[in-house]
Amino acid sequence: MLAKMKKSRTKDGPEDVYDPEHGKAIIIKNLVKKFEDVTAVNDLSFEVKEGQIFGLLGPNGAGKTTTINMMIGLLKPTSGDVYVGGYNVKKSLKSIKKFIGVCPQHAAIYKFLTGRENIELFGNLHAMDKKELKQRVDELLEAVTFTEASKRKAKGYSGGMLRQINMLMALVNNPYIVFLDEPTVGMDPRARRKTWEFIGSLKEQNKTVILTTHYIEEAEALSDMVAIIDYGELIAIGSPKELMEKYEAENLEKVFMKITGRRIVEGI
């Protein structure tokens, strides 16, 4: 660990820091988060392999965002450990920040900047080389057919466009691990489909994606592995196919109904 920390101090690029243990991009051990008398996350443990798209499913208030916030260091766990890219979040958050990309649930965008300027700003915050940054922004905008619209101020964007820029901002630093918290909420079906293709392409680039979503068909279409959490507890984990076979269900929605007795979109 000391060697890893030394390495991260001497260089700045994600490739110089990222160092997962035995092909595991994320390891969560007995994670607990309590807010006063409410237990939002209760003894959660799972692992995410490198290059997987990992769907984190659950109704509103299940603890998905709380879990993600602990993975990225925005919340301190009450107990338990989170390792991201080989580093303990409690001890080496500075190193982790260099190789992760985070797309928050609500589009966090500077509305007075253009779409392109927003993406460039976050590239600069990752201290990317200017030439590399320009090339990366061009690639990202082209990938989602946003090049023309990116010249306009974000203030005039539709909800779906804001979410697209929100996601590109998370990817500008070419992260090894990407956290996408409900990335397609508010998108029309066409934009959603295009975003699915884009998220699928991240797998081809061997990126690990943690995806939370309410859209069960989204998780089914994209995820290699799915974890279903409810009331902060892990209630099922496996590939969509494994879960459907195990619970003798036609789709993940029915798996969820069988386990919890309610539909995923109903919430708690």
Binding site: I72, L74, P104, A108, L113
Partner: protein
């Protein structure tokens, strides 16, 4: 401290002011209107100082007030960014607190200087004349910079207390009003002076008044004012940053 991150954040903050009409109004029109109004209202009123109009005695205070007024802008900007989830988003990048706070100190000090320059231009138009040399002007500039940094600290304290942008605007007047009435352009009385002595703008206004009236820079009171305003500013900025870092980002 990474210069690329720092300059990207400073540029972004400056773009916000330029591109948002409300902030642009506050930055450009407000100091111009204030100076013109006072110039027209008090330009022909005699003051206690022979040969000087009431307006001319107020100008140093107007410079200080332009710095003090950025408390509101800083509080609004931080509260807005927090509401929009932008502070959390920046928090998951390698940007350090020092770089983030440093960018705000730089951008807001720059804005303050622009506001003071606007006050200076309109004060000249309204008949005010500077009676100091280049060194004096540089020293007055230093006071303006320190007071601006202090105002950023007070803005951070306001943003920490306020839970929304609207509340930040109102709460900022807790720090703006006392400085306006007791520490800038409104003449002090025996009753208000003891209150003013707790305010950084009082010391800045006092020193700028001496400098712009051509008092020798060896005058001990100027350096006493500089020391006091510097100490108060450092304390306020440290408190502001500490409070905001601990309680203000959520």
């Amino acid at each position: 401290m990474n210069i690329q991150r720092l300059s990207a954040l400073v540029k972004m903050e400056l773009k916000k002011i330029i591109r948002e009409p409300a902030y642009l109004f506050l930055m450009l029109l407000f100091p111009a209107m204030l100076t013109l109004t006072f110039g027209l209202g008090f330009g022909s009123v005699s003051s206690a100082i022979p040969g000087k109009s009431q307006f001319e005695t107020m100008v140093p205070g107007l410079f200080a007030y332009a710095c003090v007024f950025i408390i509101m802008t800083v509080a609004q900007v931080f509260s807005d960014d927090r509401e929009e989830g932008l502070l959390k988003r920046i928090n998951v990048t390698p940007t350090t607190s020092g770089e983030f706070m440093g960018s705000h100190l730089i951008s807001n000090t720059l804005l303050s200087i622009i506001q003071v320059a606007i006050v200076a231009i309109f004060a000249l138009i309204m008949g005010f004349r500077f009676q100091s040399d280049a060194f004096g002007m540089a020293l007055a500039f230093l006071f303006i910079m320190i007071l601006s940094i202090c105002s950023v600290g007070l803005g951070l304290i306001t943003a920490t207390i306020a839970k929304s942008s609207g509340a930040a605007t109102g709460l900022s007047f807790i720090f703006i009003l006392p400085q306006m009435f007791f520490g800038t352009f409104i003449p002090l009385t025996d009753t208000t002076r003891p209150i003013a002595m707790f305010l950084p703008s009082y010391y800045a206004t006092d020193a700028i008044t001496m400098i712009l009236n051509g008092v020798a820079l060896t005058e001990i009171n100027i350096w006493f004012d500089l020391t006091v305003v510097l100490i108060i500013s450092v304390v306020i900025v440290v408190i502001g940053m500490g409070l905001f870092k601990k309680y203000g980002k959520a």
